[in-house]
Amino acid sequence: MDLDALLRCVGTTSCVVTQLTSGMIIGMLLFLIASGVTLIFGVLNVINFAHGSLYMIGAYAAWTFYQLTGSYFVSALGAAVAVGVLGILFERVLMSKVYGSNVLMQLLVCYAVVLISDDLIKIIWGPVPLSMGMPPEFRLPPIRFMGGVIPPFYLFMILAAMAIGLLLWLVIVRTRFGSIVRAAAINGPMVSALGIRVNLYYAAVFGIGSALAGAAGALAAPVRSLTPGMGFSILIESFIVTVIGGMGSIVGAFVASIIIGLTRSFGSIGFPLFVDGVMFLIMALVLIFKPSGLFGRPHR
């Protein structure tokens, strides 16, 4: 515990700017993944434990598209679309069979997918870590702002994640598609009785959630080592975010992601050996005082 260092940092503009942006970078990547988890849970009432694998596949897909096209933007878009399609297949072939089953059965199906996808990654791309490297358009000196340091790529990551989040929110809140999805989340059979093919909407939601994970993988690919199993650690954090924010709440996922990002960022200075502990502590406090999460509604 080094609270003096934390206080020194908070009293210095350059440190505050650097750590704030650092927290936002961590948080926004988590938000993209957690928003997929929470969207799928909110509508389909299933917890997609294989979501980390979709993030991993997104990163590997982006790496492959980048090797083929040389364009990072095409690669990121391609990865999101590819993982979205894969998510739809996953939902239609496997997950749709366990809707309404107990959590253990859903967990089993997801865990099987995690193991299979890890092994497939090893077979296709090999066990050795891959590195995409920074695309040339982002190989720029870091931006100086009020004495703090902000890498241009990270600024892009934050803005891209926020834009995707905003778009998702608009789709859910302001479109007919979103209205049907929200209605299906509350009472699927009733929506079905109105002649709407709810299953198609379920698949679409799963696809969107998966595409968000794929986009997160693509955004992470230039700065993280690509390895089989890389989705596991981020999945745990994204579940913490989902629980804190409230299962099913995209706004909650956004706020909780920022809380976790800032905890990690400033925590690394003030309590570096207890950052994970504090994250779990926050989650525990939320569960004790508001079990449905900061923005969640009571579970159906």
Partner: protein
């Protein structure tokens, strides 16, 4: 008792007539899968040659490689399985330090010969409480690198006025001990050095953003890091975004290894890098031939783990020749203890398995400066072993390992 002995006899006899099975627990998946891949490569180069020459008494060596996934409990389980179920007669522990300590305890019970080929944590062989008579180490040892590296760093620090230091190393036995030892000897050689910031990212941590920004905020003159493998690759990729290497002098003991060099897309220049494996260190015909042969047969470049494992395999082969193929743990250990081998990886053309603590000495240690093109590390300065031996003895006394 007699019955048990008679029942057991055919099995022993059978084991002594088939292939000599050598169990290799290692890491073949995850961020550091390259450790297992290039360790096995180093072993294969030697064992294939041994087998092509006919083996010993008609017995050839068969490797049984198992993935521990980097988990200590899995490393212990896999090692037990290799001995009990796969009937391996020798264990070649190609685990990182996180698993090597667990393997050491299994070997204590099993009594088979074991060579730790990758764990650099000094206490594994230096601490007499951990000593196992049939266990050896061919991996370089942290304290050796720390003394050699500390001396090198202190010279640079004095010349450039690097007083405030930060550290960034993985949070487990190797990272902690390696960093503490390096800084201890840097301070020993330059009393002006002080550590102002320490970062301990978790092993296999995916994101180093908060670590990098913490280092930036520390405004240190220099940084030491014992990060390695895929973790080091991810750290460099993320540190480059913040221009970290332009803001301070950096000393990275594991930077100049081909496994890292080939993966980092923007390889930092001017970083002080520890000597791991490099085809130009030493710049000898033998080393170049070994490199070429390795690349040709294994289809990838060798790493630090490759040479450490190749040396382990050579000790096993030589010991088998001495025992006439008897794989009994005690006999093999007696053969290896104090053995000197001709080796291109040695400072004087030889490496020795020091008898007093079952660890390798006389291998090449040193530091150079990173550059973006072959040979990736230039101005390599090899450390002399005599001062290392002297300071190592003092260090052992201080730790209470010797009196």
């Amino acid at each position: 008792m007699v019955a048990a002995g008679l029942v057991g006899a055919p099995a022993i006899s059978k084991a002594q007539t088939g292939a000599i099975k050598i169990g290799v627990p290692t890491i073949l998946s995850g961020r550091v899968a390259i450790l297992g891949q290039t360790s096995v490569g180093g072993l294969k180069v030697v064992f294939d040659k041994f087998n092509e020459a006919g083996g010993i008494n008609g017995r050839k060596i068969e490797m049984v490689v198992r993935d521990s996934k980097g988990a200590p409990q899995e490393a212990a389980k896999v090692t037990r399985d290799l001995v009990n179920n796969d009937k391996c007669e020798i264990i070649l522990d190609a685990e990182a330090s996180s698993g090597a300590f667990a393997v050491q305890e299994v070997i204590r019970e099993m009594g088979v010969l074991c060579i730790h080929s990758n764990s650099e944590t000094s206490s594994l062989t230096a601490d007499p409480k951990l000593h196992v008579p049939t266990a050896f180490r061919t991996a370089r040892q942290g304290i050796h690198d720390a003394i050699g590296g500390g001396d090198y760093a202190a010279k640079i620090a004095k010349a450039k006025g690097l007083k405030k230091w930060a550290t960034c190393s993985p949070d487990y036995a190797y990272g902690r001990s390696n960093t503490a030892e390096f800084m201890e000897y840097a301070k020993h050689f330059d009393g002006n050095i002080q550590v102002v910031e320490e970062s301990w990212p978790k092993l296999f941590q995916p994101d180093y953003t908060e670590v990098v920004t913490k280092l930036l905020n520390a405004k240190a003159d220099a940084m030491y890091s014992a990060l390695w493998g895929g973790d080091l690759v991810a750290f460099i990729d993320q540190a480059n975004l913040y221009g970290l290497f332009d803001k301070q002098a950096s000393f990275m003991v594991n930077l100049g290894d081909y496994g890292v060099v080939d993966q980092v897309k923007q390889f930092p220049q001017g970083v002080y890098s520890g000597g791991r494996y490099n085809r130009t260190v030493p710049a000898t015909k033998e080393n170049e031939e070994w490199y070429q042969n390795y690349v040709k047969t294994q289809k990838h470049k060798p790493t630090n783990w490759s040479w450490e494992n190749a040396v382990a395999a050579e000790f096993i082969v030589e010991a088998l020749k001495k025992t006439n193929g008897d794989t009994n743990g005690k006999k093999m250990a007696e053969a290896i203890k104090g053995m000197t081998l001709k080796s291109q990886f040695g400072t004087k053309g030889t490496v020795t398995m020091r008898a007093e603590d079952n660890t390798l000495v006389d291998y090449i240690i040193g530091y150079g400066v990173s550059q973006s093109k072959e040979p990736y590390v230039s101005d390599f300065q090899a450390s002399a072993w005599e001062p290392i031996f002297e300071l190592e003895k003092q260090w052992k006394k201080k730790q209470g390992y010797i009196s």
